[in-house]
């Protein structure tokens, strides 16, 4: 399985003299400015003929000298728009035909279902410059776009990708936008979602009975309301602009399957024949809105690709909204272990099927383990469909369960109690809770000792929280992942790691003990930038030592790093540096997010190979 990338012409027709040629191109060729690109290219090479969209493909007929046609064909792939991923499906010579000019023709609606729905793209540099230019007519217009950026997937209601088949159909273009749409020299030539404050959609701010429908006033109202609640706005904006849809060509055979993903940062993935399509970002499944979007996406994907799922696959966690949803659908459901899905997504995306002996570190916030344990610091060994847990981190008992996700101080306190450092714990509770600390602190301690709502987790994410709490970098977070991000951002220059002992447990799993590191953070009075740097270096060194130990026992072809923790650049680079200097091949995520947004694809892979 390999994510399809830009590929050279797969077919080539021999030519001489003047002639007429016919190409069909597939891949991500719609909604990426491909027809305007072909149009301009044909003009550059002095060709006549036409280009048009048909369902899922672009069709080109051109007449000219053989040399011009060859050069044109070459440039079709070489100079394609950066966000296009095209390949030439077929090329044939036709009887010589004379055209007056080169034209973009109306789309052909019929065709196969082998379609690629273009994803939404984040705003390009040129559009961003316009958006920030007070003299531009799209100054501060949030729905600015061009052929190289803006929404696609979100707007598409049917294919082919024409304005009439998108949510923009109801917005009639103003004269200025129409002129750009028709101007071959414009970045917005045939940009289907083109819009401006005069003719396009605008943001509306709604709170209770208050309605603000002026673009600028609405944005500032929104910002002022959300100032203290950075995360919801932040996530809304991310959801609107950063929603990647990755279409891969996968060696999948058998029945169509829909993978419903996880719980946080969720996506779904539909797979059939040799295709797997990952949905845009849905987000945290705890809200009704996200469940509605989730259900809509599951339906839309199947409708758009004309594929009906015959099986479902979900996470093993019984409390995930998506798992519960899957169990209600009346289709066969296959549960996939969280970290196996992470590891398989990584290996499959990398197209790394040849190797049988992967060692993948799946470090994240939490996932339901094989034995009902809460995992998140695991190393899995093997290959998709056959993963074996070979290493883990010493588990931490989390006081207050899920509360710890937004309250890093809980992880810090748990680590301090675990180390017998009650005074350190008291100090942190005092700082985090304030007035009631003297009453509630002992209560929490007793609950922790009695294991009341204090589950064990081996998640690396909680160690980051603990370190952020112990160093005072972040005690309470207002969005997920805030503490680790802040810890990374304050980390200073490279520094010696603290060694973490490894021991083989009775079940053969290697367990790394973080207590020396935590104890160092608690006891040694060093500047925060040094502590933060030492924490990152120590975890990287710990991972490296695990790899060395494991390679002594088994063959390892490559080491993979995935799970949300490896969104941390400092940690990832420190790991890669160590591994590569030892000559170990490292596999990292590419187009798919390494966090839980990649789970759905990994579930498909596990389902397919198991």
């Amino acid at each position: 399985m390999k994510v399809s990338t830009l590929s050279a012409a797969s077919t080539h027709a021999q030519r001489s003299g003047s002639g007429t040629a016919h190409w069909r191109l597939s891949g991500v060729v719609q909604g990426v400015g491909f027809r305007p690109f072909v149009y301009r290219l044909a003009r550059v090479h002095g060709l006549t003929g036409w280009v048009r969209n048909c369902t899922g493909q672009v069709e080109i007929i051109a007449t000219g000298d053989a040399a011009q046609l060859d050069a044109f064909e070459n440039d079709l792939i070489k100079q394609a728009p950066p966000i296009a991923r095209s390949r030439i499906e077929s090329c044939e010579n036709l009887p010589f035909e004379v055209f007056e000019a080169f034209q973009i023709r109306d789309s052909e609606a019929s065709g196969s279902a082998d379609i690629h729905v273009p994803p939404d793209y984040f705003v390009c540099d040129q559009c961003r410059a316009e958006m920030n230019d007070p003299n531009d007519r799209r100054f501060q217009y949030p729905f600015i776009n061009c052929t190289q950026c803006g929404p696609r997937y979100t707007l598409i209601e049917a294919l082919p990708y024409d304005r009439a088949n998108t949510s923009m159909a109801g917005f009639k273009l103003c004269a200025a936008c129409q002129a750009e749409y028709d101007d071959i020299g414009s970045r917005r030539f045939h940009a289907e979602p083109v819009a401006c404050p005069d003719c396009g959609p605008g943001p509306v701010f709604h709170q209770g009975d208050r309605l603000v429908d002026n673009t600028r006033a609405a944005l500032s109202a929104c910002v002022s309301v959300n100032r203290d609640h950075y995360s919801p706005l932040h996530h809304l904006l991310l959801a609107a602009f950063g929603s990647p849809l990755v279409a891969t060509s996968a060696n999948i055979s058998g029945q169509p399957v829909l993978a419903v993903g996880g719980h946080m940062k969720n996506t779904v993935c539909l797979a059939w024949d040799d295709r797997a399509v990952v949905s845009p970002h849905i987000g945290d499944m705890g809200t009704t809105r996200s469940l509605e979007v989730f259900e809509q996406l599951c339906g839309d994907l199947q409708r758009l690709y004309k594929v009906r799922a015959e099986a479902l696959t979900c996470d093993m966690h019984p409390g995930y909204v998506t798992s519960r949803w899957a169990q209600r659908q009346g289709l066969p459901v296959t549960e996939v272990q969280h970290h196996a899905a992470h590891a398989s997504a990584l290996v499959a995306e990398a197209g790394d099927w040849s190797a049988d002996h992967h060692l993948v570190f799946t470090w994240d916030g939490v996932g339901y383990g094989d034995n009902g344990m809460l995992w998140g610091g695991e190393a899995l060994y093997g290959r998709p469909g056959d993963w074996q847990r070979v290493a883990t981190l010493r588990p931490l008992r989390l006081p207050g369960g899920d509360k710890a996700s937004r309250e890093p101080w809980r992880s810090a306190v748990a680590a301090a109690w675990d180390a017998g450092e009650e005074q350190v714990a008291d100090r942190i509770i005092m700082a985090a809770v304030g007035a009631n600390a003297s009453k509630l602190g002992p209560l929490l301690y007793q609950a922790w000792q009695k294991q009341l709502n204090a589950p064990l987790t081996s998640a690396a994410g909680r160690l980051f929280d603990a370190a952020a709490g112990l160093t005072g970098v972040c005690l309470n977070a207002s969005y997920e992942g805030q503490a680790p991000m802040q810890l990374e951002s304050v980390a200073g220059k490279s520094i010696d790691p603290v060694a973490m002992p490894l021991r083989a447990r009775q079940d053969g799993v290697l367990e790394a003990d973080w207590r020396p590191l935590i104890s160092h953070l608690m006891k040694v009075n060093e500047p925060v930038d040094e502590s933060a740097a030492r924490f990152h270096e120590s975890l990287a060194e710990c991972l490296y030592q695990q790899v060395l130990e494991i390679t002594r026992q088994r063959p390892v072809d490559a080491v993979g790093l995935c799970g949300g923790v490896f969104q941390n650049r400092r940690l990832t680079e420190a790991c890669v540096r160590r591994l590569e200097s030892h000559g170990i091949r490292v596999v990292l995520g590419g187009q798919l997010p390494v966090n839980d947004a990649g789970l759905s694809f990994g579930q498909v892979v596990e389902f397919t190979v198991s």
Binding site: M264, T288, D402
Partner: protein, 334 residues
């Protein structure tokens, strides 16, 4: 009776057992209908439907701030009759006593049970005791069966619930769950939170005066959220609750926040959830608020025909789905 502790002899049918029944149970529970010499008791009932229910009680610890297993055994069963629209009249009592239990404690519990029954006006008319071997029981288990009468024309149930009906709760939720937790685990905060264990009869009687009353339930195990799930599952309708409107005592809230519990899933033993037509909501609310223990009664939500989910609208206007209770809720986020 000389012994300070229960022994197996107190269950063997002989003198010890007779003394225990006479000196502990009969002494406290004496009433004109209780005759410990009879095998069965004749009851005369008023006009209406005979309502019949039973419940078992295994709470640990046996005594907690705001009540004990004795008061709970009366409230639990009579409250079940009350929310069904009945007037409770008679109880039976089974006591399973663990060998080694202090007789003084047992005496205190049965005294409370009797006083609670007296207050409500129900009579314990039949009973039995058994002694369990040491280690086979949690000190004392009780089971009570209740008989009551309901006016024949007063049908309550899920069938009458319709879109737009309002949901009321008679007081703050989660007190009992937290009070028992604090007492059971012998936390230092014992006493900060008092169980709400009480009879809900004053509330159910007030509610029965309204013909728009659809349904009542006491949110015991699984708490308010579970009652809402039951309503939603049985009717196919959704429920929207307004989080800021749901009364929760500050002490309960802060313990819940600290320990990571959700008060909406914690047991109450003296609250009622009622579903009533929109038109009669305000009237019932003001009736309830005039009752002792009713000053924090509140309208907390609406039956929503557009959805089949139980939703919590938060202070900021966000919507959170309230999941059905798991055996043991596992972290999903961290």
């Amino acid at each position: 009776m000389q012994d300070k502790h229960i022994s197996l002899a107190h269950g063997n049918g002989g003198r010890y057992m007779r003394e225990l029944i006479e000196e502990v149970f009969a002494r406290h529970l004496a009433n004109p209908d209780l005759d410990i010499g009879l095998d069965a008791v004749p009851l005369s009932l008023a006009e209406g439907e005979v309502m019949f229910t039973t419940d078992g009680f295994t709470v640990q610890p046996l005594e907690f701030p705001g009540g004990n297993i004795g008061s709970l055994a009366v409230h639990g069963t009579t409250n079940d009759l009350a929310v069904a629209g009945a007037e409770p009249l008679y109880l039976s009592l089974n006591a399973f006593i663990e060998e080694g239990m202090e007789i003084e404690t047992l005496d205190r519990i049965i005294a409370t049970l009797a006083a609670t029954a007296n207050e409500i006006g129900v009579r314990v008319v039949a009973g039995d005791t058994k002694v369990l071997r040491r280690g086979e029981g949690g000190g004392l288990y009780l089971a009570t069966t209740g008989v009551g009468v309901r006016q024949s024309d007063r049908q309550l149930g899920f069938d009458g619930i319709t879109d737009g009906d309002r949901i009321l709760v008679s007081g703050p939720v989660g007190d009992h769950g937290i009070a028992v937790l604090l007492a059971r685990e012998q936390f230092g905060l014992r006493g900060d939170v008092v169980s709400d264990a009480a009879s809900v009869l004053p509330f159910t009687r007030a509610a029965l005066a309204y013909d728009g009353l659809r349904f009542m339930r006491d949110p015991t195990r699984g708490g308010l959220a579970t009652v809402c799930h039951e309503i939603s599952q049985q009717t196919g309708l959704g429920i929207r609750m307004q989080q800021p409107d749901i009364p929760v005592h500050d002490a309960v809230q802060s313990v819940c926040e600290m320990l990571g519990y959700d008060p909406f899933y914690l047991a109450c033993e003296g609250r009622v959830v009622a579903v009533i037509s929109e038109a009669q909501t305000d009237a019932l609310l003001s009736d309830w608020r005039r009752l002792p223990q009713g000053d924090q009664a509140a309208v907390i939500g609406t039956v929503n025909g557009l959805s089949d989910r139980v939703l919590l609208v938060t202070e900021l206007g966000g919507e959170r789905m309230l999941d059905e209770l798991e055996d043991d809720p596992l972290p999903r986020i961290c």
